[in-house]
Symmetry: C2
Subunit: 278 residues, 2 copies
């Protein structure tokens, strides 16, 4: 029996295959694997990455115990459809936040705060991982780069209307985007990652509008972490592009830890454990 660990999202997927001892026999990568947007495409790209990882090892996909951590993996219906398209001996599909958490924390208790283009939180207690927050650009992802960027653009339009104080950064944004009309046009076509590209200008700025939005975001993240700590003091791993900024900003509240590994490591470890348990 061999083991497949996979981490997949909107931009691509990465795979690793190991034997029973944990020795890696190959790695692979492929295209997007977000089952919330395209299950068939995800299945194709997952198989391609798996075949690349298997290489000429002689191991067949049918001989793999697989754990797939995928964007959209919390959606039960999509998970069931994907499962039917894959040939593995056993397949466990979980949200990519789960495998990222297992990779970051190893087997120990802790909290992962993933703050990149989107945001999501996970808690591991006694080996059980629970995911919180996230929920996407439209109705969630509080504290994420994409939401911060969108708030900055919205604030620039409010300032242009006189409903909020104009600041140097907001004035720059209005000029660069071509005023309110340009911002609306950008919003009609931009992906969350393009909104998120504005976040580094906020974290690297002393502008009062940026500072206010970042204060609100940090307060929100602190509130979420306080609820998740539930009176405890678990180590917190901050990940994603804004992870280092939040780690500095919220230092002193709780122990802050570096990640032990990535989502592929976590998925592989979960696959090997599932075999031991079975």
């Amino acid at each position: 029996m061999h083991f497949l660990g996979m981490d997949g999202g909107g931009t691509g997927c990465r795979a690793a295959v190991s034997d029973r001892t944990g020795r890696i026999i190959g790695r692979g990568q492929g295209g997007p694997a977000n089952i919330n947007t395209d299950v068939e495409q995800a299945a194709e790209n997952i198989l391609a990455a798996t075949r690349q990882a298997l290489g000429n090892s002689g191991v067949a996909p049918e001989g793999l115990v697989a754990v797939l951590g995928l964007a959209g993996g919390a959606m039960g219906a999509a998970r069931a459809r994907l499962g039917g398209l894959l040939p593995f001996a056993r397949t466990l599909i979980v949200n990519d936040a789960v495998t990222a958490t297992r990779g970051a924390l190893g087997p120990g208790d802790g909290i992962v705060a993933a703050l990149g283009t989107g945001s999501v939180f996970a808690v591991q207690r006694g080996g059980i991982i629970r995911q919180f927050g996230g929920r996407g650009f439209l109705m969630g992802d509080e504290g994420s780069a994409a939401v911060l960027g969108r708030c900055l653009l919205a604030q620039a339009m409010r300032a242009a209307d006189g409903f909020a104080p104009m600041t140097p950064l907001l004035a720059d944004i209005l000029t660069e985007f071509g005023g309110i009309e340009g911002i609306i046009g950008f919003g009609n076509r931009a992906l969350p990652a393009e909104f998120g590209a504005l976040a580094p200008r906020m974290t690297g700025s002393d502008d009062p509008a940026a500072r206010q939005l970042l204060d609100d975001a940090a307060d929100h993240v602190a509130h979420v972490l306080t609820v998740l700590q539930d009176g405890g003091a678990l180590p917190v791993v901050f990940q994603g592009g804004l992870g280092p900024w939040y780690a500095r900003r919220l230092a002193g509240h709780w122990p802050i830890a570096a990640p032990l590994g990535n989502g592929v490591d976590g998925a592989l470890e979960m696959a090997r454990q599932s075999e031991e348990a079975s």
Copy 2:
């Protein structure tokens, strides 16, 4: 010379044609005319509604001075493209909020707060109309039904995670939508109007979560109106599905007036005035 007044948006357009004295010689209606989403379709539907209004009057489209108040009419590039597709003797394209304001207020000074699926504000002073706010579902439309509905769904997901207090209405929403997964699925496919359909359940409820979101929205609208009043006490006309609720909620702050007419009336009046002025 005859005059065409038109009011067009995402769901349809309405036209009226009058002679120099203001006597209506015909009315028409047609399909969507949102030039922010489809300029060619808007041109077609505008012409169809115009021909219907002209009927067998013997007046040709080429003999019309036209004022078109259209959704997306604030977007200069789209406005220029549409202008090139229309045969009228003179064409003035403005945002539908402008013609709605002129229709609601007549020639007098005042403020229109349009709070329906979206939201937009306009001020008329000395015959000059300026538009504020709005800016769409993604980055603006504060206080609108669509944004309120989206906030309610986001709050239900936060409550399910333990990050906000669970209330009876939030619990009902979670059950009806099929939990967090159901809400995310709805958000992936729903139009703003479908989010907005939740607003009447909020305004008709004593639920603490609904009350909090409505308090925030009312505070925001009050702030916007305070800025727009600029120390004055202009009459405010509340329009849109949530208009009556805001009018009751904000009564006593400023004089509240009923609308004199609709957007077609306003467009027609603007068309006749433009001829007098030229």
